[in-house]
């Protein structure tokens, strides 16, 4: 057996929330690229993910990784009805900011800024945290993400009312629920199986 915690090589640890591209360094041994079988490649879904240490670590359980990945893609990329992509990414970024996942927040703040063009609002969320004032509709999405992310969960009918007042229909509300809930899955893996590093560090 080769079960051991990896020592992370010298790197620059990010100490603020940022939209910069970050690397991620695993604390456990990912599978080696040459050991990936057809079953593992199916688990990775995208062949390009064989280059990622994060996905090569998770592919140790290929069936769960494949299911996780297909859930993720539909929640964020399915353009049919519901919330615009930018606001699904906002829910992901807010959830990550509240849980304290600097890596996940960097990726989804980047996407939220790109798709919404509201770079200053996204940066305010990163700098000030989930209490930042981003106008009514975004505030409602952030507050819902926070209520769903808290343990115990504090999400209640008042959040539904605020989301509806901000113009969200039920399909959009379900997108917020899915996006915030999904990042409670993603944040816990990213935070506990490795750590972020400044890119190229």
């Amino acid at each position: 057996m080769n079960d051991k915690v990896l020592s992370v090589p010298g790197h620059v640890e990010p100490v603020v929330f940022t939209r910069d591209q970050l690397d991620w360094l695993p604390w456990l041994e990912p599978m080696a690229e040459q050991d990936l079988t057809a079953r593992h490649m199916a688990g990775l879904v995208d062949a390009a993910r064989a280059k990622s240490p994060y996905f090569r670590l998770l592919v140790r359980d290929p069936e769960v990784l494949e299911a996780r990945t297909r859930t993720d893609k539909d929640i964020f990329y399915n353009p049919d009805a519901g919330l615009p992509r930018a606001e699904r990414e906002l829910a992901a970024a807010a959830t990550s900011r509240y849980n304290g996942c600097i890596y996940c927040a960097s990726v989804h703040a980047r996407f939220a800024a790109t798709y919404s063009k509201r770079v200053e609002d996204v940066d305010r969320l990163l700098a000030q945290g989930v209490g930042a004032d981003l106008e009514a509709r975004w505030n409602a999405i952030v507050a819902t993400s926070v209520a769903l992310t808290s343990t115990p969960i504090t999400f209640g009918p008042e959040h539904i009312d605020t989301l509806r007042k901000a113009g969200l229909d039920d399909a959009s509300i379900v997108d917020v629920i899915n996006a915030a809930s999904f990042f409670n899955w993603a944040n816990r893996l990213m935070l506990s199986l490795g750590e972020p590093a400044a890119a190229g560090g």
Binding site: D3, K4, V5, L6, V8, P14, V15, V16, L28, E29, L57, L58, R60, D61, E63, V64, L65, E66, A67, R68, R70, T71, K73, D74, I75, N78, A81, G82, Y98, N99, G100, C101, I102, L148, T149, S150, T151, P152, I153, F155, P157, H159, I160, D161, R164, D169, D170, I173, V174, D175, I177, A180, S181, F182, N184, A186, R188, L191, S192, L193
Partner: protein
């Protein structure tokens, strides 16, 4: 084919929320296949079914969602273990998220909280592997940003393989998702437009 999220949130076929969920068909199918892969695994070599259900009961208990605890308890045949898991969860509940940031500007946002340790005799009733998994799960649920390499070393020392750690990490993280989707949909169902 039954869908665990629909069952737990009480979403009936043909209901308005059934139609809304149908707009994200892959998310729905694969939330279910995540559950199936975790709880009806192809191999139990790295984490047994009993360990998986015990951990799910504990995580649902930490969230204080009794309907979800009851669902996962169906997978725990051994009543002595079931009682130990209940005790472990009841004595571990707190509020999250808390935890520390890397030293720097974010240190101002550090929020202190306990590192949970399972006490005797529950520790003995659970056994070394499950006690270590529960302590790790408590951190993942309430203060995941405190995670550090020694936490993984503690799991290895308790007998978990690298693959086993990936499995239980996925399980706790998946439950953190599933419980929130069920909570969110239940509130929405009770508040029709």
């Amino acid at each position: 084919m039954s869908d665990v999220i629909d069952t737990l949130a009480g979403i009936a076929p043909g209901s308005p929320l059934d139609a809304v969920r149908a707009r994200r068909p892959q998310a729905r199918i694969h939330a279910q296949s995540s559950y199936d892969s975790l709880f009806k695994p192809l191999s139990e070599a790295d984490a047994s079914r009993q360990e998986r259900f015990a951990l799910a009961c504990f995580v649902a208990g930490l969230h204080d969602r009794q309907e979800i605890v009851a669902f996962y308890e169906q997978g725990l045949g051994d009543s002595a273990l079931k009682a130990a898991v209940r005790t472990a969860a009841t004595t571990a509940r707190i509020e999250g998220p808390y935890g520390h940031y890397p030293k720097g500007p974010l240190s101002a946002e550090d929020k202190a909280g306990p590192v949970h340790r399972i006490a005797s005799p529950t520790r003995e009733a659970l056994g070394t592997r499950l006690a270590a998994a529960f302590e790790h799960a408590h951190m993942l649920v309430y203060h995941p940003r405190d995670s550090a390499p020694p936490d993984l070393q503690a799991l290895i020392d308790a007998g978990w393989s690298t693959t086993g750690i990936v499995v239980i990490s996925q399980l706790v993280a998946f439950l953190s998702y599933q419980i929130r989707v069920v909570a969110g949909l239940s509130v929405l169902k009770a508040r029709p437009a």
